[in-house]
């Protein structure tokens, strides 16, 4: 079984400040790791993913995440956020069998 824990349900930050959204996971099998963003009243959009290789992955909109196997974490970071980054962010894991498990989401609110 897999589980995903997003450690912060809400993260308020000021514009141009750095942000980190934390994600820990547990799994008895190898998994692939994803971050998705959901803007208000829209579907989910992939930000970035880790399948293998370099543990630091870069995604769209200036986001990056680092896979840490020993800590079973996949935290999402951005050095300088914009108002337009205000959205719901989901961390997810997926097994080879196609089973995906999502975290409960983190609401990022960027204030001017």
């Amino acid at each position: 079984a897999q589980s995903v824990t997003q450690l912060d349900s809400q993260v308020p930050v000021f514009e141009e400040a750095p942000v980190e959204l934390r994600c820990n996971y547990s799994s008895s099998v190898s998994v692939y790791l994803f971050w998705y963003v959901q803007y208000p009243n829209q579907g989910l959009q992939l930000l970035l993913k880790y399948l293998s290789g370099s543990t630091l992955v870069k995604g769209i909109n200036g986001f990056e995440a680092e896979f840490n196997k020993s800590q079973t974490s996949f935290h999402l970071r951005k050095p300088s956020v914009h108002i337009s980054d205000t959205a719901e962010y989901f961390c997810a894991v997926m097994t080879n069998a196609g089973k995906s498990t999502f975290g409960d989401g983190t609401t990022l609110t960027v204030k001017p």
């Binding site: 579907g43 959009q45 080879n96 069998a97 196609g98 089973k99 989401g105």
Partner: protein, 116 residues
């Protein structure tokens, strides 16, 4: 061109009714999914189909029945709708790559179901 499309976008209906939500993907993917997102935005997988065959079926009431007429379509039929079925339902698709790994899921825009 929309990669994953769902119809209808909004669905308001009475308790006890039967309704269907349609999903189509034009990405050539071989795997499709249905997710339910509740009012607290928790996202949970319901079903997954690979090449028209059911591969994942979470603990979903049997009032929910997915149907995949072909690889590009995965429809969701719901019988005897209940108040608790009110949620946003997302369809998604992905492609199996080498070694059985699943690639990125592409999500549809969602269907907002309200049961009165």
């Amino acid at each position: 061109d929309t990669a994953v499309s769902q119809t209808p976008k909004y669905l308001v209906t009475q308790m006890g009714n039967d309704k269907s939500i349609k999903c189509e993907q034009n990405l050539g993917h071989d795997t499709m999914y249905w997710y339910k997102q509740d009012s607290k935005k928790f996202l949970k997988i319901m079903f997954s189909y690979n090449n028209k065959e059911l591969i994942i079926n979470e603990t979903v009431p049997n009032r929910f029945s997915p149907k995949s007429p072909d690889k590009a379509h995965l429809n969701l039929h719901i019988n005897s709708l209940e108040l608790g079925d009110s949620a946003v339902y997302f369809c998604a698709s992905s492609q199996i790559i080498g070694g059985g790994a699943q690639e990125t899921q592409y999500f549809g825009p969602g269907t907002r179901l309200l049961v009165l």
